[in-house]
C-alpha cells in the first residue's frame, strides 16, 4: 500500500493567471506578511518562476534588496525574492520568496 501515499502528493499553489505550479504549502514559513496589495506568504522555495532585476526597496521592516518574481509561463508578477536584508533581525529572509495571496490559488486540495 506504500505507493498509494505517494499518489496523493504535496499541496500545491498555482499562478492565478495560468495555473502554472509555483510553490508548495509545506514550504510556507510565515503567513503574516504584507504584499503590494494585501496579505502575502513567505515561502522557503519557489518553482517555475523567473527572478527579475535586483532593486533596493524600503519595506515595512526596513531596507531590503529584492527582485520581483514572475510566472515563467505568463509573466504575471507573483511577488518578490529577498536578495539581501540589511538588519540582523531580517537576515533570515534572504533567499526566500514572497507570494501574494491574491496571485496564487490552491491547486490540488
Amino acid at each position: 500500500m506504500v505507493f498509494m501515499a505517494e499518489l496523493v502528493g504535496p499541496r500545491l499553489y498555482s499562478c492565478c493567471n495560468c495555473r502554472n505550479h509555483v510553490c508548495l504549502h509545506d514550504d510556507i514559513i510565515s503567513k503574516a506578511f504584507q504584499g503590494r496589495n494585501g496579505r502575502a506568504f513567505l515561502f522557503s522555495h519557489a518553482m517555475n518562476v523567473v527572478v527579475g532585476a535586483k532593486e533596493d526597496r524600503q519595506l515595512m521592516t526596513g531596507l531590503h534588496t529584492v527582485a520581483d518574481i514572475y510566472c515563467n509561463d505568463c509573466r504575471e508578477v507573483l511577488g518578490w525574492k529577498y536578495e539581501r536584508a540589511y538588519e540582523e533581525t531580517q537576515k533570515y529572509k534572504e533567499g526566500k520568496f514572497i507570494f501574494e495571496k491574491s496571485k496564487i490559488v490552491k491547486e490540488n486540495w
Binding site: R19, A32, G38
Partner: protein
C-alpha cells in the same frame, strides 16, 4: 434521582404519576423531539426507563471507539444512520464481529469516511448485515480499490455512494458498482484518477436514475461528457480541475438531454467563456454555475446567454476573473442571485459592486476576498440593497473601516458569517457588529488593533457565536478571554495563535467553554501545563489542539491532556518541551489520537520516539516529523506504521524562528 423514580414507580394512579407513568413508546416519542446531542445524553442518564426509551428510538449513532461497537449496535434497534468515521482503529475483524448478531435491518446510511482500516472483508459484512443500505460514504479511504467496490456492488438498493479519494478504484471496480447498483442517484468519483472515459461510458449506460455526479480531478475527457449527456435525470455535475475537458465537451453537454441545475467547472484550464455559453444555451434552468479560477477573459456570447438564466440562476462563482464595472452591471441582470463569488477578481470597484447589488437584492452570500479596491462605499451599497445577506467575505479589503461596517450591522440583521481577516478593523467596528445577534462565524485574523474592549462588545450580544478567529490579534489579553467565556458559551472553534499576551489565567476562562472542539494556541509562550490542564478538564469535547512553539509547555502540561482530553484526535506539539517519557505517555493514553505533528522535539531521544510511536502504532493515521528522523528511526517501525495506514510527512524546518 433513582429514589424519586421509585417513589412514583407504583404505576399510573394516585398522585398524577409524573413522567414515569408514561409508556416506553410515549416516552420515546417525547425524547425524539429532543434535538441537541448533549440534551439527549442528559436524558439518557435520568433513569433506566429513560435510557431504555432513548435506546429503543435512537436513529443515529456516531461511535468514537472500537471496543464498545458491538455492544452499541446491539443496544440500539431502531438505527437508521451509522457514523463510524471517527471510530479510532476500526478494522475488518472488529467491524465484522460487531455486525454479526446485531439487528441492523433499519440501517440505511453508513459513513466510513477515512476509516482506512476497513477493507473488502468489513464491507462484505456490512452489506450482508444491512439489507436496506441506501447510502455509503467511503471517502478518503485511500487504500480502497476494486475489491472494495465489488463488495459494495452487492448492495443492490444503493442510492448514494461516495468513493472520493478511493485511489485504487479503476474502471473495473466502477463497472461492478454500476452493474450491481442500478438505482444509483448520487455518485462521487472525485480523485479516482484511474477511472477513464470507458468507465464513465458504462456508468452512463447503466445508471439512468443518476441525479448527481462528481468527476472532479479525473483525467477523463470530452468523450465522458458525450456519455454523460445522455443521463436524462442528471441535475448536478461537478468537474473541478478536469484538465482534459474543453469547450467541445461543454458543447456536447449543451446539446445533451440532462436536466442540469448545477455545474461546477472550477479550475478547468481548458474551458473558456465560449464553452460555457454553449452549455447555458442548452440548459435554461441552470441554478448554480461555478467557474472559479478557470476563465481568463469574457466573451459577449457568455454574457448574452447568462441573461437567459435571469430567472433561475441563484449561485454564480467567477473567482479569479478579470472583471469590469460594465461586466458586473451585466451580471446583475440575474436578479435572483443568492450567492456571488468574486474572490481574487481584478477590477472589482465600488461602482461595479453598486451596479450589481442594486439589481440583486436577494443576495445572501457575497465573497469579495482580496478585492482590495473596495471602500466603505461598497459596504454602503450592500447594506442598502442586500438586507438578507448572511455570509460576507471581505478578507484583505483593507480600505474598509468601522463606518462601512456600521451600515452593514444596522441594515443586515441576518448576518451569520463575516470574514474581516487582514482588514485592519478596530474595536469600534466590533461595537457595531455586536448588533448582529445571529452571528455564528467571526474572522478577525491579522487585525492587531482589536483589543479586549472589542471582544467585550461581541461577548455582550453575540451569544450564538460558534467560530472565532483571532489569529495574530496580539493586543488580546486574558480579560478578553474572560469576556468570551462569559458571553459566547457556544464557541466550538477558537484561534488564538500568536496572541502572546495570553497566560494560564486566560486559558482558565476557556475551561468553561464546554462546546469547544478546536483550539489553536500557536506560539503562546507564556502558557504552561496549568493552563492546558484547565482546558483539558473543562473542554470535554476537545478534538483538536495546536500548541506549536508553546515553549513553556512541558511534560506536566501534556500529562493533563493525556489524562483528560480523551476525545482528542489531532495534536500539534512541535517545539514543545516534551521528553520521551511525556511523549510516550501521551501517545499511549489518547486512544482516539490519529493525527500528530511533532517537529523538533529536541528533548526526545530516538528511543523515546520509537517507544511512543510503537505505543500508538495501530491508531495513528497522520504524522509530521523532522526529516532527519527518517534515517535514524528503525525501518521496521516505519514499515509497521505504513502498514497500519499511517502517512508520514517528513519536513525540513528551521530550529530557530524569527517572528
Amino acid at each position: 434521582m433513582s429514589e424519586e423514580v421509585q417513589r412514583y414507580g407504583g404505576g399510573g394512579g394516585g398522585g398524577g404519576g409524573g413522567v414515569a407513568a408514561l409508556s416506553l413508546d410515549l416516552l420515546g416519542q417525547v425524547l425524539d423531539r429532543v434535538r441537541e446531542p448533549r440534551d439527549r445524553k442528559a436524558c439518557r442518564l435520568v433513569s433506566r426507563a429513560f435510557a431504555r426509551a432513548e435506546a429503543a428510538h435512537r436513529r443515529a449513532l456516531r461511535v468514537l471507539r472500537r471496543e464498545p461497537l458491538a455492544r452499541l449496535l446491539r443496544a440500539f434497534r431502531a438505527l437508521e444512520r451509522l457514523d463510524l468515521s471517527a471510530c479510532a482503529s476500526l478494522d475488518d475483524a472488529s467491524l465484522a464481529a460487531a455486525l454479526s448478531g446485531a439487528d441492523l435491518a433499519g440501517v440505511r446510511r453508513v459513513c466510513l469516511a477515512r476509516a482506512s482500516g476497513v477493507g473488502w472483508r468489513g464491507l462484505d459484512a456490512l452489506v450482508a448485515a444491512c439489507p436496506r443500505l441506501e447510502a455509503v460514504d467511503l471517502s478518503h479511504c485511500v487504500g480502497a480499490g476494486d475489491r472494495e467496490a465489488a463488495a459494495l456492488a452487492a448492495a443492490t438498493g444503493l442510492r448514494e455512494l461516495s468513493l472520493e479519494k478511493c485511489l485504487g478504484v479503476t474502471d473495473m471496480g466502477l463497472a461492478k458498482v454500476v452493474v450491481g447498483c442500478p438505482r444509483l442517484e448520487k455518485l462521487s468519483l472525485k480523485w479516482c484518477r484511474e477511472i477513464s472515459d470507458i468507465g464513465i461510458d458504462l456508468l452512463s449506460k447503466k445508471c439512468h436514475e443518476l441525479r448527481s455526479l462528481d468527476i472532479s480531478y479525473l483525467k477523463v475527457g470530452n468523450e465522458s461528457l458525450r456519455s454523460i449527456s445522455s443521463l436524462e435525470k442528471l441535475e448536478e455535475l461537478a468537474m473541478v480541475c478536469c484538465s482534459c475537458i474543453d469547450d467541445d465537451g461543454l458543447e456536447l453537454l449543451g446539446k445533451g438531454s440532462n436536466s442540469l441545475q448545477s455545474v461546477d467547472v472550477s479550475r478547468c484550464d481548458h474551458v473558456t467563456s465560449q464553452g460555457l455559453a454553449s452549455l447555458i444555451d442548452g440548459h435554461h434552468f441552470l441554478q448554480k454555475l461555478n467557474a472559479a479560477d478557470s476563465l481568463h477573459e469574457m466573451r459577449q456570447s457568455f454574457l448574452s446567454n447568462l441573461a437567459k438564466l435571469k430567472d433561475t440562476l441563484t449561485v454564480l462563482r467567477l473567482d479569479g476573473l478579470e472583471v469590469s464595472s460594465s461586466f458586473l452591471l451585466a451580471i446583475g441582470g440575474c436578479n435572483n442571485l443568492v450567492e456571488i463569488g468574486l474572490s481574487k477578481c481584478n477590477g472589482v470597484t465600488d461602482e461595479g459592486i453598486s451596479s450589481l447589488v442594486t439589481q440583486c437584492s436577494h443576495l445572501r452570500v457575497i465573497d469579495l476576498t482580496c478585492c482590495n479596491l473596495l471602500t466603505n462605499n461598497a459596504l454602503d451599497s450592500i447594506a442598502e440593497n442586500c438586507k438578507m445577506v448572511e455570509h460576507l467575505r471581505l478578507e484583505s479589503c483593507s480600505s474598509i473601516s468601522e463606518k462601512g461596517l456600521e451600515q452593514i450591522a444596522t441594515s443586515c440583521p441576518n448576518l451569520k458569517e463575516i470574514d474581516l481577516t487582514d482588514c485592519g478593523v478596530n474595536d469600534a467596528a466590533l461595537q457595531h457588529l455586536a448588533k448582529c445577534s445571529e452571528l455564528l462565524v467571526l474572522k478577525l485574523g491579522l487585525c492587531s488593533s482589536i483589543s479586549d474592549k472589542g471582544l467585550a462588545f461581541i461577548s455582550s450580544s453575540c451569544g450564538k457565536l460558534i467560530e472565532l478567529d483571532l489569529y495574530r490579534c496580539n493586543s488580546i489579553t486574558d480579560d478578553g478571554l474572560a469576556a468570551l467565556a462569559n458571553g459566547c458559551k457556544k464557541i466550538k472553534m477558537l484561534n488564538l495563535c500568536y496572541c502572546n499576551k495570553i497566560t494560564d489565567s486566560g486559558l482558565g476562562h476557556l475551561g468553561s467553554l464546554e462546546e469547544l472542539t478546536n483550539l489553536e494556541l500557536r506560539c503562546l509562550v507564556r502558557i504552561t501545563g496549568i493552563g492546558i490542564s484547565s482546558v483539558a478538564i473543562g473542554c470535554k469535547n476537545l478534538i483538536e489542539i495546536d500548541l506549536k512553539r508553546c515553549y513553556s509547555v512541558d511534560d506536566a502540561g501534556l500529562w493533563a491532556l493525556a489524562r483528560y482530553a480523551l476525545n482528542l484526535r489531532q495534536l500539534t506539539i512541535s517545539y514543545c518541551q516534551v521528553t520521551g517519557l511525556g511523549l510516550c505517555h501521551l501517545l499511549s493514553s489518547l486512544r482516539c489520537l490519529q493525527d500528530v505533528k511533532m517537529v523538533h522535539l529536541s528533548w526526545v531521544s530516538i528511543e523515546g520516539f520509537e517507544m511512543a510511536l510503537r505505543a500508538a502504532c495501530g491508531r495513528l493515521k497522520k504524522l509530521k516529523m523532522l526529516s532527519g528522523l527518517k534515517s535514524v528511526l528503525s525501518p521496521e517501525l516505519l514499515q509497521m506504521l505504513q502498514a497500519c495506514g499511517c502517512r508520514i510527512r517528513w519536513v525540513n524546518k528551521p530550529l530557530v524562528y524569527k517572528d
